[in-house]
Amino acid sequence: MSTTDVKTKKLTMIEGVREAMRLMLKENDDILILGEDVGKNGGVFRATEGLYEEFGEDRVIDTPLAESGIIGNSIGLAVNGFRPIVEIQFLGFIYPAFNQLMTHATRLRQRSMGRYTVPLVVRAPYGVGVRAPEIHSDSVEGLFTHMPGIKVVVPSNAYDAKGLLISSLEDPDPVLFLEPLRCYRSSRTEVPDEKYYIDIGKSSVLKTGEDISVFTWGAMVQDTLKAVKELEKTRNISCEVIDLRTLYPLDKNTISSSVQKTGRAAIVHEAPATGGVSNDVISLINDTSFLYLRAPIQRVTGFDTPVPVYSLEQEYLPSAAKIQAAIERAVDF
């Protein structure tokens, strides 16, 4: 991506998120940021740092502490000409706004036959990783893929974050933009200064391989790559690793052609297995690639339990050993 023509910078993922917001705030006066502590404080993770100073309190708005209120008001703003970006401080605090998302943000277009639309981006950090108190580390993507009318995206690096957020901010419908906490500052990627898009609905093949397709997203991407590379050293297995990036709608073509090539699949995610997005992937493979499958699809997930207190986080997270065991199970089947 960093040819001589395109100016780039090495950014952390949270900087990528911030860059996308700054660029879009500049370009489009209708864009607003709303949330708790997003103003003067620049967000509890500093995602909005400097934006309050640059764009003023009419565009970067510290709201009262009320998630239903924030999303409900943003629906009114969105219907009436604005494009709000809502920051929910942690995904585990989105639940009070569930009704506003489930019965309004996602349904107004249909209910009004297109008269009222809700171009709204809800950003939320999520997942294990900052040794935060309970409930701060929930991974509940699956609640939102089961919510018709919204799209769900998850970048895993700065480049994808910026491009996906820009696409989300031009999408005519509500987008849930999930930001895996462990990715915020874990690495830097070359990111073009200019505007570019990562299409919603397109996954990214991070590594090609022949024996198994491993699907993952968010913070598990790096863990998975590492586990896979380790395994490839010790065993003669060639793995394809795909960062899904969009969880709804899934990238049907890439997923199915990969599995049709390798004949095996594993899915790695933090959330509990039951009701998790892995099941959507399994169903897609079942629908499209049944005859190609040479082994059961493997899931490597969190437990069917709440995300535990932080001293047990590492036990909860899918480990390299678990990822490797799953791949071996499939290949040795």
């Binding site: 009419d58 709201t63 009262p64 009320a66 239903s68 209120g69 999303i71 409900g72 008001n73 943003s74 629906i75 009114g76 703003l77 969105a78 219907v79 009436n80 000409g81 604005f82 009070p96 009704n99 506003q100 019965t103 309004h104 107004l108 277009r109 249909q110 209910r111 009004s112 036959m113 297109g114 008269r115 009222y116 639309t117 018709p148 009318g149 799209k151 999408d171 005519p172 419908d173 609905g201 709804y248 709608p249 899934l250 049907k252």
Partner: protein, 356 residues
């Protein structure tokens, strides 16, 4: 609190003006216009209850008894303002410009029933109680940001004040000074639950105190009390002075919906008494009679023109093309996702097979 928030009245149920100061503000023409609107709403409501009984529409939500509250407030708005109704506020939406045909289509389970004429800002009726209050503050806030003087008015019931969204909306409206009129129709019941079980406070108006929002309690069956109070709130909002909470004390004569049986939880005699005493239409009739401005010819003409308007709308509704299957998926997203498209293709293929 009852002292702090007395029920304000302009026209007494006997038909006399309660305070001379209102005299010059009430013209016979305006009175007749409001009466016409209330009569139109009432006749439509009665028709709808009958249509439901005949199975020509689905479950219906009547508002009979609440015409003054809805119409007095709707008349205080201008075109371009925003209205956020509930499932019971079609007297208000009708008055604010919603088409009678689409209103009827709503009760046939049609999306068209949520769509106002172009340029008329009416939201689809709020179904999850109190959630629409936040859209009203949001939309009004947007107007403020656009630099216009447009306002939003949102309807909600006594029961709705118990939901968290009521509270969050009043707080947002207060903090961001949104030009919003929080218009409460206190009809004394949330389905079967009387106000005394819903809250300990004797008024809803007092709930504004926690947010520094000016509040007023009015006789919701007195169309002028409603109209003037709403006008004042609208002016305050247009002038940039933020929201107002209005409690309009009223009563629904009938059941919660046509699927509800009010006699299960209250004595329906109360409604019969109220029809003779505090009724919003009867009150204006008495007022006009007291002014010697009540003419049988006028009222007969009104009735027959309204009935023929209703009949026309009904015909339009009943001859309206069947709901298209496409409406199931067309507007879920701007463009259907592939999962939806695949499901639709399969659906159509199976239908084709069946009809072959």
């Amino acid at each position: 609190m009852l002292d702090q928030f007395p029920i304000q009245q302009v026209i007494h149920q006997d038909g006399h003006i309660t305070d001379e100061k209102y005299k010059e503000k009430i013209s016979i023409d305006k009175t007749k216009d409001l009466y016409y609107k209330m009569l139109r709403a009432r006749l439509l409501d009665k028709k709808c209850v009958n249509l439901q009984r005949q199975g020509r529409i689905g479950t219906y939500v009547p508002y009979e008894g609440q015409e003054a509250a809805q119409i007095g407030s709707a008349c205080a708005l201008d075109e371009g303002d925003w209205m956020f109704p509930t499932y019971r506020d079609h007297a208000a939406t009708l008055t604010f410009g919603f088409s009678m045909r689409n209103l009827l289509l709503n009760w046939r389970g049609r999306y068209e029933g949520n769509v106002p004429p172009e340029g008329i800002h009416i939201f689809p009726p709020g179904i999850p109680i109190a959630s629409q209050l936040l859209h009203a503050t949001g939309a009004a806030w947007a107007e403020k940001k656009h630099g216009t003087d447009r306002v939003s008015l949102v309807y909600f019931g006594d029961g709705a004040t118990s939901e968290g969204d009521f509270h969050e909306a009043l707080n947002f409206g207060s903090v961001f000074d949104t030009p919003t009129i929080f218009f409460n129709q206190n009809n004394g019941y949330a389905i079967s639950v009387p106000m005394e079980k819903q809250m300990k406070s004797k008024t809803i108006a007092q709930k504004g105190l926690g947010y520094n929002i000016p509040s007023v309690r009015i006789d919701g069956n007195d169309v002028f009390a409603v109209y003037f109070a709403t006008q004042e709130a609208v002016e305050r909002a247009r002038a940039g002075n933020g929201p107002t909470l209005i409690e309009a004390v009223t009563w629904r004569y009938g059941a919660h919906t046509t699927a509800d049986d009010a006699s299960m939880y209250r004595d329906q005699k109360e409604s019969e008494i109220r029809r003779q005493t505090t009724d919003p239409l009867l009150r204006i009739e008495r007022f006009l009679k007291a002014q010697s401005a009540w003419e049988e010819a006028w009222i007969n003409e009104l009735e027959s023109s309204i009935m023929s308007e209703i009949e026309t709308a009904l015909e339009e509704m009943e001859s309206y093309p069947d709901h298209e299957f496409a409406h199931l998926f067309d507007h879920v997203y701007d463009q259907p996702t592939w999962t939806i498209q695949d499901q639709v293709n399969e659906h159509l293929a199976i239908k084709r097979r069946q009809t072959q």
